[in-house]
Structure formats: structure tokens, C-alpha cells
Symmetry: C2
Subunit: 213 residues, 2 copies
DNA sequence: TATTGTGAAGACTTTCACAGCT
DNA sequence: AGCTGTGAAAGTCTTCACAATA
């Protein structure tokens, strides 16, 4: 398939074709009127814009089940991420290979970051260890952190943090499930909240900004 | 702290206080003018609205590193989720306890779903197994699926699927990282894309709807 | 003819700002 | 005096609809 139309791409992605064309237009005019988009060229342009053509060394700190799952995750390599090191505080883990990469002790953290020019760190430690690990990563030069620990991290200005809370997605499902189950109950207690329209079901749609911890 | 003002809550959540008050107003009038919101009452009302006061039995299918990490994840229980069963296709896993719960063989899948009245399933299998597992879950009565496998699942109408792609969050970080690194390069090739304002940095902000796989 | 690229319209969200209560 | 609840304004995002053009 050498070319693709905005209509086809939009159907595949589940979005409106005009939105897709408008989004693409912000990157440049990469289509051909009457024909569509050259697939290879488009993939290259979008990849470049998103930074997928670069090689991003990352470190994963905290090699429990989740850290191991991340180390083994195939999706990273194909998107330009290279696991530069696995780091754990447990001396018993040191030297043990996980996903073919030997785990290093956290004493080495600063040296690893500097030697590899790492700017992105992944924290998969228990909650209590997350902030100290974060501080050390930042001090060593990391400027983007992906946090899987159930803690809110504080970082200086200029450092990006994204938090992944594995239970939030479940909570969103449960929220919709509750709706499915009791339309009468919903009418009784919360008639104001509309049922979500398809267009609103974004990755994070329909969920209030604030919820109890 | 018996009461809290919208201003305080908004500061803690990093949102505008008017937005927070407006959001709350869709649930009802749970505040007191001149005083604020009664914390306990507010937590209860929001919890109820989000379905946190219910007990949601879930099954996790695919007990590799990720499945084990999910089974061990503390955040579930506190939000009303109960891991009703762990299911794996490997007969060698059967009976082995993970997070204190014995793994069951996938032959039992349908029976487990029915016996426990499970409506939410978590798929943490390899990509190839995800769609068949999904089909069996749906046939057995599951109507919400959280998918960690790198596959797009097809499901009948009325079934909700949410996909968690562990590499997307990293990609978002890399995208911003790229911006930080080369402001001149960005100006040269994509002046149209603005730097994100703080208010735009939502959980999924700043990322085009479509990207190459 | 088929499809892009995009102004303009429409829909939705966020914020302002203040009347209304406690 | 202090803070909520909310109309109205401002801002942002999405979709329409069509001129431009390969």
C-alpha cells in the first residue's frame, strides 16, 4: 500500500478525517491532492516529529516484577528507546541478567547516567524509594522521569514527570461499568452527568480532574 | 482537617479553583458557602459517583512479569478492586501462588468468570494470545477489558476496551525532551507547534491522535 | 475525478466574576 | 467575611464544507 487517504487513516484510528488532515497540516503539507499520503514519507515525517528517529537511552530503576516487565517489553526498542541499564538497590540482584541485561547496584546510578548520557529515567521502585531515587536521577542529569510508583514526585523546574497509575484505567472501566449496570440509579443520583458520546471517549475522557486517593 | 476550600483543593490538584467548583457542581451541591467542602462527605460522594464504594471482582489473564506486577499492585484493593482469579495458559503455573492467589489454568476461564460474576478482565498475555483470550472473556460475560498486550482488540458493541501501552508515556517524555534539546531545530522544521502551556499538560496532552506503529 | 489543506462555524471546556448563602 | 455555585465570556478543539490542485 504505497499511499493512504485521510479517510482510510481516520477510520483505522477511529477519528474524524478532517481532524486528521488538520493535525497533519500542522506538521507540513505532506499529502498529494487527489491521491493521499505517501505512506513511507508520512511515517518518516511523523517519526521525526515525535522523536522516534532518535536513540533514547533510558535507565529503569527498581527491578521487581514491574521493572522486569518493562525491561522485557518489546515496544521500547521499536520506538527508539534503548535500555541502557537496569538498577536495583538489592545487592543480591546485582549481576543477575534480566531481559539479557545485567542488573547493576544503585551505588552505580550516578556513574551510569553520566557515562550513557541518559536523560530519561523510569522509576519502578516501591513507593518509599521513589522520591530519593528521583532526586538522585535529577542530580545526575536526568530531565524526564516516568514514575510507576504510587507517589507524587517533586522535581525542580525544567524536569518533566509523568505518572502511570495502573489502577486508574481500571477505575475508568469500573466507572463506565457502573453506568451500564444502573441507568435508573444514575438518573436518581446524578442526572446531570451525560452518558459519554463516542467522540468523548478519549484515553482519559469522562473522568473528573480530582478524585480521592 | 474537617473542611477544605475549592482553592486549597485546586492548588493541591494543580487546577483552577473555578473549574474544580464547576466539576463538583455537576455531582450536586456538596459544599457550604463561606466554609468549603466537608472532606468526609465529599470523599464519600465522589467515591460513590466513581464507583469506588462497590466491590469489583477482576480477573488477570497472563501471569508473566506484568501480570504478577498487577497482582501485587497495592492500589487495586484500596479502590474497590478485588483480584478474583489469576489465569495462565501454562499448566506449569497452575496452583503456584502469586501475590497469595493460586494461578488457575485457562481451561477454567469461563467457569471462573461465571462463578465470581466478573465483569472486568485484565489481559496481560503476549500479543498473540490477547484476541482469543478477549473473545473468551467476552463470551463468558465480561463487558470491560483492560488490555496491556500490544494489540488492538476487536470486541462487540457494548464492551469497553482500554489499552495501556507502556511505551507511549515514554514517547511523550521523549517528545518533550527533544523540544528541550533543540529549540532552534524546532523553529526550523515545525514552528507551528507551540510549546505546551502548563494547563495543556494533561495525562495525554500534546500528542497527535495518530502515530506510526 | 479524488483528495488535500484550511477558513469559518460549531461544539465543547475553562475561566472570570459576582450574586447568593452561611 | 468568606466561599460556593453558576451565568456569561473567553478560549480551545473539532467538524464542516469547499476551493485548490494533482
Amino acid at each position: 500500500m504505497p499511499t493512504v487517504s485521510s479517510e482510510e487513516l481516520a477510520a483505522a484510528a477511529g477519528v474524524n478525517s478532517a481532524k486528521l488532515r488538520k493535525d497533519f497540516s500542522y506538521l507540513g503539507s505532506y499529502g498529494t491532492r487527489g491521491v493521499g499520503y505517501d505512506v513511507e514519507y508520512l511515517v518518516y515525517q511523523i517519526s521525526r516529529e515525535l522523536g522516534l528517529t532518535q536513540d533514547w537511552p533510558v535507565v529503569i530503576v527498581g527491578i521487581g516484577n514491574l521493572g522486569a516487565a518493562l525491561a522485557n517489553y518489546g515496544g521500547f526498542a521499536s520506538r527508539g528507546f534503548r535500555v541502557a541499564a537496569l538498577i536495583d538497590a538489592d545487592p543480591a540482584m546485582a549481576g543477575k541478567p534480566v531481559a539479557g541485561i545485567p542488573v547493576q547496584h544503585s551505588d552505580e546510578l550516578e556513574k551510569i547516567i553520566e557515562d550513557n548520557g541518559v536523560s530519561i529515567g523510569v522509576i519502578a521502585t516501591p513507593a518509599g524509594a521513589a522520591q530519593p531515587v528521583c532526586d538522585r536521577l535529577v542530580a545526575a542529569g536526568v530531565t524526564s522521569i516516568l514514575n510507576f510508583a504510587p507517589t507524587v514526585l517533586s522535581v525542580p523546574d525544567g524536569v518533566d514527570v509523568r505518572k502511570v497509575d495502573l489502577s486508574i484505567e481500571l477505575q475508568i472501566l469500573a466507572f463506565h461499568e457502573q453506568r451500564k449496570a444502573g441507568e435508573e440509579a444514575a438518573a436518581e443520583s446524578a442526572a446531570v452527568l451525560r452518558a459519554p458520546k463516542e467522540s468523548e471517549k478519549g484515553p482519559d475522557g469522562d473522568v473528573p480532574a480530582v478524585m480521592p486517593a
